[in-house]
């Protein structure tokens, strides 16, 4: 557990000192959402109708954008090989790195969400659902993305490839995330959606670090 926290702390410190990565991801998120009113027109009723989908899809793309850096820097400077060699289980190392990734990119997306909800005229109920689904959903994206990030280490055009691999696998998160917000806007209960998203989170938590560790082992062989 101490090792886990050590790795989280190290990654957080690295991210904070470099600084630009998470800011860029959030800026991308905001900028892409701002493009939509230009694309489909500024009518409040239209924007309100598409807001859940637009917010979730752009959050998905923003998460993809940051994922290729998850293991890349460690892979390039060789510290990944040391992490693989430590007595700490590699699955735990992966969980720590994914946690740090979520704290530096998933959580800032949540912080930017209120602003974007106002831009897209999302009502109060929908806004609450947006925050809840993103809170449960973005860690799944980080976990699934970790598998992809480990698989494309050393590949040509890793970043593009990563999106091609992971985006089809994230469709369930998108379906239930948007479904919950749509239901909330109509005043229906969203507990079942959140329960399913939570189930997916636990399944990803149990399985994804294991697959990521397998991918990291073959990358550092």
């Amino acid at each position: 557990m101490i090792r886990f926290l050590d790795i989280v702390r190290r990654d957080l410190r690295l991210a904070l000192r470099q600084g630009s990565d998470s800011v860029m991801v959030v800026t991308f998120f905001i900028l892409t959402v701002v493009l939509f009113p230009f694309g489909i027109g500024p009518e409040a009723s239209v924007l309100e109708r598409v807001a859940p989908g637009v917010l979730w899809v752009t959050a998905l793309l923003a998460a993809m954008l940051s994922l290729d850096r998850l293991f890349q820097a460690d892979y390039e400077d060789g510290s990944l090989e040391l992490l693989v060699l430590t007595p700490t289980p590699l699955e735990l190392v992966v969980a720590a790195k994914v946690t740090a990734h979520w704290l530096t990119t998933g959580l800032p997306l949540l912080a930017a969400a209120p602003l974007l909800a106002i831009f897209l005229h999302l009502n109060a109920a929908g806004f609450g659902a947006l925050l809840l689904t993103m809170l449960v959903g973005t860690p799944i994206l980080s976990l699934l993305g970790g598998v992809g990030a480990a698989l494309v280490l050393g590949a040509r055009r890793g970043g593009v490839l990563l999106s091609l691999l992971i985006l089809p696998l994230t469709i369930p998160v998108l379906v239930f995330g948007v479904g919950a917000i749509d239901a909330a806007i109509l005043g229906m209960p969203i507990g079942s959606y959140l329960a399913i998203l939570g189930g997916m989170l636990f399944a990803a938590l149990a399985l994804a670090p294991w697959a990521t560790a397998a991918a990291l082992r073959q990358a550092t062989e």
Binding site: V147, L151, V152, G154, A155, R156, R157, G158, L161, L164, L165, L167, P168, L169, I171, P172, V175, F176, G179, M200, A203, L207, A211, A214, A215, Q218, A219
Partner: protein, 246 residues
């Protein structure tokens, strides 16, 4: 299973089986097409366009079968480091992608006269489209590395991870569809369950033909993969020999 890990033994068996597979594929395909196109009744509602089913449904089955085969081969390769399983998984991917593509195209051609649109966001169509993207991702990853062995291992992990995710995707897509358009294509599901025997015969023949076609092409592709691995080894040996002589 480990008996077949030796490429030479595999090739011997594959070469013996191959002519029979070619004969079976052509016979089954010819018989299936004859029954499908000439000797089966047109549907009372759909007319002759129901004949698209005889290629559409088998290719949909094969699209799913090939992904399962790919995942099983990949798991074998990861667990036992079985060299031929790796090769068979890589050989299966383009065949499966081809069948999925045929299924999508024939489905959209069938959808135009039946539903009035080439594409509908129906749960079945959408899940086949996602399956097609999974194949593309697998092939892109397998070819993205300078070292083919690396690409193969990464792709194997992806195939297994994707296979775990497929039921979740399928289930979520069904859910998503039923939210928006309940039961507009229940005819589609019902037709499969009580299908007339005169239509079942060509459908069965075509399904078997696709299956033997898969094994035929699999052997062809596996032979090519083994040959290219041999060429790679010879080239490496030549390079090393030339380097040592300097």
């Amino acid at each position: 299973m480990h008996r077949f890990a030796n490429p030479a033994r595999f090739l011997r068996i594959a070469n013996a089986v191959y002519p029979w597979l070619v004969a079976a594929t052509f016979l089954l395909m010819a018989a299936g097409l004859w029954f499908a196109l000439f000797d089966s009744p047109p549907d009372y509602q759909q007319g002759d366009s129901v004949r698209i089913m005889y290629i559409h449904v088998p290719s949909a089955w094969m699209g799913m079968f090939c992904y399962t085969a790919m995942a099983v081969f990949s798991a074998m390769a990861l667990i036992w480091k079985h060299p031929l399983a790796d090769l068979l998984a890589r050989a299966t991917a383009p065949i499966g992608a081809g069948f999925t593509f045929v299924c999508l195209v024939s489905g959209s051609l069938w959808g135009k006269p039946m539903w009035g649109a080439y594409w509908v966001w129906d749960a079945r169509l959408t899940s086949m489209l996602i399956l097609f993207f999974l194949y593309l991702g697998y092939m892109a990853l397998a070819n993205a590395f300078d070292d083919p062995i690396r690409g193969q291992k990464a792709a194997a992990i992806l195939a297994v991870a994707g296979f775990v995710n497929i039921p979740i995707i399928k289930f979520s897509v069904d859910w998503w569809h039923t939210l928006h358009q309940p039961s507009s294509f229940s005819l589609f599901a019902a037709k499969h369950s009580d299908i007339a025997p005169s239509m079942l015969l060509p459908l069965g023949l075509m399904a078997l033909a696709c299956q033997t076609y898969y094994f035929m092409v699999l052997i062809l592709r596996a032979r090519a993969e083994i040959a290219s691995a041999k060429i790679r080894t010879i080239r490496m040996a030549q390079v090393h020999a030339a380097g040592g002589g300097e």
